[in-house]
């Protein structure tokens, strides 16, 4: 299960970046982008169903594996074509490609575990559930936010 982002919650503190960097020997897979000082957006691999990175990876290092796009460092040639193919710009490469591995085999990715604002989740429904809950509440109290 990939990591889902609730942009309304992110406070741009970069705890996820620092945690990810620590867990991956100094090569982080997540980046928090500030948006004009009004919001911040954590960017990381979406683990696409039809993953273009896996499609273009001729060495077989990137493959779709159930819910995730897995990466086998031993097969990576460091060519960097995956970084070009990724529609979200979240793969980078030095002599090796670097992308989110969901902290496999840990139960929970470290970015999700550490997020101080609970803006990251592995539950795909959590963001829409929060919005639905608020809307439902508003309709109960005469269309107004409660006080």
């Amino acid at each position: 299960m990939p990591v889902y982002v609730d942009v309304l919650r992110c406070i741009g503190c970069k705890a996820c970046e620092v945690a990810c960097k620590r867990e991956h020997n100094g090569k982080p897979h997540i980046a928090v982008l500030p948006a004009e000082g009004r919001a911040a957006v954590p960017l990381l691999c979406h683990h696409c169903k039809d993953a273009t990175c896996a499609l273009v990876c001729y060495s077989g290092a990137l493959t779709t594996d159930g819910d995730r796009v897995s990466f086998d460092a031993a097969k990576c040639t460091g060519c960097g074509i995956c970084a070009l193919a990724c529609p979200f710009g979240v793969i980078w490469s030095d002599k090796l490609a670097h992308k989110c591995d969901l902290c496999y085999p840990a139960e929970l990715p470290s970015c999700v575990a550490t997020c101080p604002a609970q803006a990251l989740s592995t539950d795909y429904d959590v963001v829409s559930r929060r919005v639905r809950y608020k809307a439902a509440q508003a309709s109960v109290i005469e269309g107004k936010r409660s006080i």
Partner: protein
């Protein structure tokens, strides 16, 4: 070799997040998250996530050093401790106990702080203080006056029960990020969040109502809110009658404080002040969260009392989801104050000017000639060093050169001391001025208790051994005390804690055996007491049990904009750095994210001055000049410049003006100018 996981408490801010360190072969190699922790639920901010970089840092001090000419010479512990003992004893003999100054540390454990203040007072010096003076001294004074207790009234997780959260002068999303999850929970349940700040901070992103206030005008806003609440009849009459005194005086004092008057002073539309007052007063449970934006002013104590007045007239105290919540800045600043490392209090906030206090501690410590009366505060000790009243100082884990306002003055003062010994984990701008530097253990290399901002006392364990010859502050302080003829014979933190159990009533039941994974929230008067998460449920801690409504009137900050210095400089913290930066600037994964000092400038001002994004600018005040990168941003309003104080130099700029009652310097407002560096 065994791999193990050890529970510690994060060494940065005062949220008190659980931090589990994995060690392999005696080296800290990883962090595990603890979803069971009552406050953090496994979360850590970037600083907590990077904390191993402090333990394993190559800059750590690993042996005692003496300054010989301009060079630091390595010496043995024996020699170092003898030297401290001799020099402090000499100062004591030649100039008397009042010539000695002690700075305890909000980074050290309760046990260590207790011993430092015990050392100071047992040798007869009243001059002991800690950096709480620079953050929450006005809370200690103001809340003690109004409510009879200075701590947070309600615990952090209780914010989830609030239906209106009024955050003023706190950028908690950057400075206490882990608290954000509790604000989100309250919002999910429909709470209204009001944020008052001069800057549009990430905390303001959480706001339903954002009040962009002019720096230093908080009293005007709070008085106008109180006046509206009274005029509109939103007060809690029953609460006022049953539990407070002084209400009629407040009504009288607020006569001139209309919302329109406040709009003129604060720059906040009267309509928004009205909305905020209504939301705060009428919600079933409202809480006030504040921090340095309230306290670091010449009107700091007034600001705190104005907040307490709001809570008292609305009856928003003593219940779930209510309260006044001062967020502390450092992991153990609450504990250092509880332990009496303050100029005006013995342990347990027993007033230093009360003969009964002295008598009771003379008995408890079996000590003669304990000093009576308030000592010099941290900034006053610096003044004292400057004018020769203070001859020798023992500074533990603090960097006043970078953390106090008007650094140049601090530097001159400390340089003029006869003897300065500094105990720290890194070399700092302050220890550079010392005669002797003692290497200390960091949080993960010792055990003891830390008290978080919500009064939660937690036990932290030793995960790894200190590097080289570094020793725990507890060991060092005991050794120094013994060399001054005292008998500090403690086997370890546990033994000191049991003495604290006897001498500090609020900690009586906080014994080692009871401190499990969740800690205990004081007051905890006996062994069977579960702790007291919510204060003031039945009565306030004042003498008559009633909350005191103490009217305050608006005063302008000490420095207003002038022709020479037309901008208002305000300082603060950012998410990836901490205080004077001696730890975070040395952590590569934090420093690379914010490597350099910057100054936030509004785009309109930048255009007028021809300043472009990322260019070096000079920021000048009456006290000095500092270079910083220009960061042009609409976060700050026109006329205001923001700088983080984590980089050496920011406090060269800040003003030395102090709150008369609490002694805190006005870090948040200074008149400045900003110019291109041509």
């Amino acid at each position: 070799m065994p791999r193990s996981t050890v529970s510690t408490v994060c060494p940065y801010c005062a949220v008190g997040c659980g931090l589990q360190i994995t060690t392999e072969r005696g080296v800290a190699t990883g962090i595990e998250y603890n979803p069971q922790h009552p406050v953090s639920h496994g979360a850590l901010c970037p600083k907590g996530n990077a904390s191993l970089e402090v333990i394993n840092n190559k800059d750590r001090l690993t042996f005692p050093m003496k300054k010989v000419g301009d060079i630091w010479a390595r010496i043995s512990w024996e020699e170092a401790l003898d030297l401290v003992g001799q020099r402090l004893s000499k100062a004591l003999r030649d100039w008397g106990p009042e010539s000695l100054g002690f700075l305890a540390s909000s980074k050290c454990t309760n046990e260590e702080n207790y011993l430092i203040e015990k050392l100071a007072r047992t040798i007869g010096s009243r001059n002991v203080d800690n950096c709480a003076r620079l953050c929450h001294a006005p809370s200690v004074v103001g809340l003690n006056r109004s409510l009879g207790a200075a701590g947070m009234t309600n615990p952090i997780p209780d914010l989830a029960n609030s239906r209106c959260i009024f955050i003023i002068g706190s950028n908690l999303a950057e400075n206490h990020p882990v608290i954000t999850q509790w604000i989100h929970r309250a919002k999910d349940a429909g709470a209204v969040v009001i944020v008052a700040d001069p800057r549009y901070t990430p905390t303001a992103w959480l706001a339903d109502i954002f009040l962009q206030i002019r720096p230093g005008t908080d009293v005007a806003l709070l008085n106008a809110m109180a006046r509206l609440i009274i005029d509109e009849g939103w007060i809690d009459e029953k609460f006022i009658a049953a539990r407070t005194t002084g209400y009629t005086g407040l009504v009288e004092a607020l006569k001139g404080c209309s919302a329109e008057w406040a709009e003129g002073i604060c720059g906040i539309p009267a309509q928004r002040i009205f909305q905020s007052a209504e939301a705060y007063a009428l919600s079933p449970a409202s809480s006030i969260v504040y921090s340095m934006g309230i306290t670091q002013h010449t009107t700091g104590t007034d600001n705190v009392q104005a907040l307490a007045n709001l809570a008292l007239i609305c009856g928003q105290l003593g219940r779930e989801g209510t309260g006044v919540l001062p967020l502390r800045g450092q992991n153990n600043v609450q504990g250092a104050c509880d332990m009496g490392a303050l100029a005006e209090f013995y342990p347990g906030y027993r007033p230093a000017d009360d003969p009964a206090t002295v008598e009771s501690f003379s008995m408890a410590w079996d000590a003669q000639s304990l000093p009576l009366g308030r000592g010099l505060t941290a900034p006053e000790m610096i003044d004292g060093a400057n004018d020769g009243r203070i001859k020798a100082m023992y500074i533990v884990g603090e960097d006043p050169v970078n953390s106090e306002s008007n650094s140049r003055h601090v530097k001159e003062a400390l340089s003029s001391l006869e003897f300065l010994v500094v105990q720290d984990i890194f070399m700092t701008s302050t220890s550079q001025l010392a005669d002797l530097v003692l290497p200390a253990a960091c949080w993960a290399e010792k055990e003891g208790t830390f008290t978080s901002t919500e009064r939660r006392v937690q036990w932290t364990n030793l995960a790894v051994r200190p590097p080289g010859e570094a020793r725990s502050d507890l060991w060092i302080v005991c050794e120094v005390a013994n060399r001054m003829g005292l008998n500090f014979d403690y086997a370890g933190a546990e033994e000191v804690l049991s003495e604290i159990n006897r001498t500090v009533p609020a900690y009586r039941g906080v014994t080692r055996s009871r401190l499990n994974a969740t800690g205990i929230i004081w007051p905890c008067p006996n062994q069977d007491h579960p702790g007291t998460p919510i204060l003031h449920i039945e009565a306030f801690k004042t003498m008559d049990g009633r909350g005191r409504i103490l009217p305050v009137s608006f005063r302008h900050p000490a420095e207003g904009p002038s022709d020479e210095f037309p901008f208002t400089l305000t300082t603060g913290r950012i998410a990836v750095h901490h205080n004077a930066g001696s730890m975070t600037r040395r952590s590569p994964s934090l420093a690379e994210r914010e490597p350099e000092p910057f100054a936030e400038i509004n785009p309109m001002d930048a255009r007028r001055l021809g300043i472009s994004q990322g260019e070096m600018v000079n920021v000048t005040t009456a006290r000095g000049m500092m270079e910083a990168l220009a960061r042009i941003s609409e976060r700050v309003p026109s006329g205001v410049v923001f700088m983080p104080f984590h980089f050496p130099g920011a406090n060269i700029l800040t003003s030395g003006a102090r709150d008369e009652v609490a002694g805190i310097p006005e870090f948040k407002v200074a008149a400045c100018n900003i110019a291109r560096r041509d």
